[in-house]
Symmetry: C2
Subunit: 295 residues, 2 copies
Amino acid sequence: MTRLSEALRRATDSVNETLESVLPTGDGAEGRLFEAMRYSILGGGKRLRPFVAISCADLFNVPRDWSLRAGAAVELVHTYSLVHDDLPAMDDDTLRRGQPTCHVRYDEATAILVGDAYQSLAFEILTTPETHPDPGVRCRLVHALATAIGGRGMISGQMIDLAAENRELDIREITRLQQLKTGALIGVSCEAGAILAQAPDEAHTALRGYAHDLGLAFQIADDLLDNEGTEADLGKSVGKDVAAGKATFVSVLGADRARRQAHLLVDQAIEHLDMFGDKANLLRDVARYMVERKN
Amino acid sequence: MTRLSEALRRATDSVNETLESVLPTGDGAEGRLFEAMRYSILGGGKRLRPFVAISCADLFNVPRDWSLRAGAAVELVHTYSLVHDDLPAMDDDTLRRGQPTCHVRYDEATAILVGDAYQSLAFEILTTPETHPDPGVRCRLVHALATAIGGRGMISGQMIDLAAENRELDIREITRLQQLKTGALIGVSCEAGAILAQAPDEAHTALRGYAHDLGLAFQIADDLLDNEGTEADLGKSVGKDVAAGKATFVSVLGADRARRQAHLLVDQAIEHLDMFGDKANLLRDVARYMVERKN
């Protein structure tokens, strides 16, 4: 896994630089907002979504300057969803990426505003010429992101997840929940490369297929880690879904079947990459890493 | 004021129709989210922002189908900011537009997600061809909106407002706070018409100037109503800023000076419209209405 871990490390550095450059700075009363915005997004995170965004864009030789901004946008959205999800009224989490959550370190009002501002910033950076010279491409990126994360996408997944505390979901329902809650954003992360490259429809379809299977494998692996990992390994609370009576892939399928299912999904994800040949080797590594990661 | 009230009524109906058509529908676990999204935005509201958006677009004979979508986008953003602002961790309001606030009628988690989904939906509808056939124009709309409402715009205003409970602001600071908190969104509402029309720079400058003065007059009038109006007239809680020890235009200037200042701003706002001749009469009426309204 040296090739992947080296590429991940370099991508993380570049994504962090891009985020640094787009985050607002300044003092005064809003200085606390800007500080909290930096705290929650620069303090850690695996940067998996920007990494797949960059790696998918690399398939088409999209300039890194462009794909890094698309990657920063999806990371901003991902972090906004974490900051809001961690609020007392939602999952009430105190630990995230190994640090106190935003509302614990600052306060609830600040955490609400930080999430809101991340979302706007994601759309702001997608619409500047630095992201792509063609405004039609920028517009398509915004549309893909807004659709994926809105009331018919990620937010629906969050809502179904909240309701899941009160009733038993079956495997079909859990799959749908996770496709919305985490899959939709992973999907747009992957497809952003094809949008930036104005690639043909087959490429979009292939990357959507890859993202679909990758997202589900990622979530099953997350449930397995939540079942078996420790807070110290993961940098976040563990066992909370089970304690809250929420069905997970592991609670419904059992750990063994869940693990086999994750491996099957990884194989499927990799098959979607056939048309890209060796250029897609890193994306194949990422898929395999999903089921091997320890955090 | 018959011309204005008739135009406002017709615009409200059209904006509501547009909102109805873009809000997600469906049942299942996310049905509660969709229901709450309809509850907070369709249950009332003066629709002043969409009205100025449509009226500014009318100056350039922009098709109503386009300007109504831009108006719906700013109303979605405005309502998202109200729903989040009303949360217990923020202003903790129980009454809005004459009805229980979203978190009171539903719950806090739902209210957080409703606001998040409104924001995404605003950007989603701006990026479809129904809003404008030229993707460059759509991209410019998204950029203007995202910049106005983000960490350097509306959210900064919210953050300064939160901090204002702990210290005395002077008139310069209150003006800046309000320009960010309410002025930035009114600004983009007005400028959207010029963007949709691909109007020359002078038109943008004039509408920005109009919006600037209109926004401040609106806020001073709001402070005066908050000082003198009743909950029944306004459909929201009154006197909260003063009770929280927050400085307002009225607490710093006194009611008489604040009223004179508002009238001065209205005159200034109207002067910015000279280049548009009689076509801008409704916008002149709106400005005058700012200081005459009772709710």
